[in-house]
Symmetry: C2
Subunit: 348 residues, 2 copies
């Protein structure tokens, strides 16, 4: 189904009209992940899995935005250290974040001095970068790539919603933007875990307009990509040990499970969401965590560790993005969603 | 220099440590370009080369932002029509724009219903998309991709500088953001013009802080990518019929030529800038045109037509981005630049 013939040669790739999934010929290995999180995330249930926990979310900088860019840079440096690589050995950085003009990524890239592709996929950035990065490696253009992203509660709240000083009450559907940054290094050679497949999402919008209910805005896109993945690959739910989304939160989780159930996919027994796992209910984050860093730090912290320890062998990992914009929202537009899924497997 | 050996097989690609250039094995063909511009661009010297000229820059929409997204969508549709393709035959859209959360691209992608990678490279987006798109095709992941971008004078001015109603005086170093959108379709098979090489830029920042002098902010990044391209490929200036930048404007042009001259590269006789070509000096645009659409409409309008007519056979085309952000500027940061170059050639 995923094979096609070109000039008499069997090749892998995305060629069947209408499919959105690539199967990699030489699947890249995830060789290192770097994570850094804020104080609140450092008090959560996954605290033991992060490389660095800030005691102060300004990180010694004069603004939260500068702090976020520094976290981005340090997540990359932490990953480099673990992989025993220098930045000059990295072929491309694929990075983005939630801030206007992706300043966290761009200013970090300035310091890192590496060929850079700037991405904007909102909270789907982690798997957008990993998908493109895997293609660049499998395609023969790179030996090593870094995919990275960040978010910060204080920079996101004041850009997307209200000034923090206003102390506005948050509805129960709202999510808490994760303060943190995560970076993954992919390599052309390695012993896994491998990225074997990638399903690229479409922008889906069922008309949700509430900036405090990102889970509902993302659920249709998340469902669309998961269903497309199963149809394109022929995989079933049983093929996976874990199906994990980026930041659906409790509200989005329930909608997603229902949307999938209606289409004949009951994934509940295999399902987890980074946004639900990263905080404890006692931390008063309402529907759960969110932000581009949510999936990035859970993937590069907790999940890679679980895979390394043999807990999971094959995972469908999908960062989910709500394409929320204050400008378009003020002009009456709804909030579209997008989700990109990758298959992480310990075997080929 | 650009060859490397893997498992006894000679392959093309970017493998030599420190290089930033890819040479494509099966160079993708540019099979169509779609352009749409605003009224002012439609009065400029390149007016005959655009597919559509708006008589009203609101394009019948209630906001300039909605108009910009509609232009983005229509540039894609114009390109599809010329290529005689349906959107369902396109494997990936690689799109971005200047607006926060790239709403022009994302809302267009929502209507187009196509797998989408959102990019943010400011005014370098056109060649960022073409570079990644060429890799996706040459790598075997796509038969057809669309790279597209847009900008709009009124959306950009009010987001990056001042409300238009304020009628603020523009200094002579300032540039006029092009209202328009351009889309290119790349195909795995075709008769050219081909994208044969791609040099991916780094974020470069020499400390420029003036939001009304983008040319100066971009010049160091532009020089860096051009010099890297010549060093990586071994090409000389004589190998090219034309070296064209995206939106340096007159101020940036002079700085770029000087920076290159100091490093031993005298490109002046082969050099043009989209930002200088798109407007006539009588149009009172000061240093010239700018914006993500500037390079996009000149490439997909004027340049492809010149190549088709045999005027140019080998072109180094480089969109140039100033990573200007009101947030970081207000926090005292300078404006970094980035530039991505591609070689367009009629022969292989």
């Amino acid at each position: 189904m995923l094979f096609f013939k070109v000039k008499g040669e069997v090749r892998y790739g995305k060629k069947k009209l209408g499919t959105q999934t690539v199967k990699f010929k030489n699947p890249p290995s995830i060789i290192a992940g770097g994570t850094i999180v804020g104080p609140k995330e450092g008090e959560g249930p996954l605290r033991d899995y992060f490389d660095m926990i800030l005691v102060d979310d300004t990180y010694g900088e004069k603004s939260w935005e500068k702090a976020e860019s520094k976290m981005f840079q340090d997540a990359v440096n932490l990953a480099l250290k673990k992989a025993n690589l220098k930045i000059s050995e990295i072929d491309y950085l694929l990075g983005g974040d939630l801030l206007n003009q992706i300043i966290s990524a761009n200013f970090a890239a300035r310091q890192l001095n590496v060929p850079h592709f700037g991405l904007y996929g909102a909270c789907s950035t982690m798997t957008e970068g990993l998908t493109l990065g895997a293609m660049l490696i499998d395609g023969g253009y790179a030996d090593y790539i870094i995919a990275a992203t960040s978010s910060h509660f204080s920079t996101a709240e004041r850009q997307f919603r209200y000034p923090l000083e206003q102390g506005i009450q948050r509805p129960f559907t709202s999510q808490w933007t994760v303060t943190g940054a995560g970076a993954t290094i992919l390599a052309s050679t390695g012993e896994g875990p491998y990225i074997t497949h990638a399903t690229t999402g479409k922008v889906v919008d069922l008309g949700m307009k509430d900036a405090n209910n990102m889970g509902a805005a993302m659920a249709p896109a998340a469902a669309d990509t998961i269903i497309t993945h199963f149809k394109d690959t022929g995989f079933t739910i049983e093929d996976y040990d874990l199906i994990m989304t980026g930041d659906m939160g409790r509200v989005g989780r329930d909608i997603l499970l229902e949307l999938l159930y209606k289409e004949g996919y009951d994934i509940e027994s295999k399902y987890k969401d980074c946004g639900i796992e990263i905080f404890d209910e006692s931390q008063d984050v309402h529907s759960g965590g969110s932000g581009a860093a949510c999936s990035a730090v859970v993937l590069n912290g907790w999940l890679l560790s679980q895979i390394q320890n043999g807990v999971y062998k094959k995972v469908l990992f999908m960062a989910t993005g709500a394409l929320l914009s204050p400008t378009s929202s003020q002009q009456g537009e709804s909030i579209p969603g997008i989700a990109h899924a990758i298959t992480i497997s310990t075997t080929l």
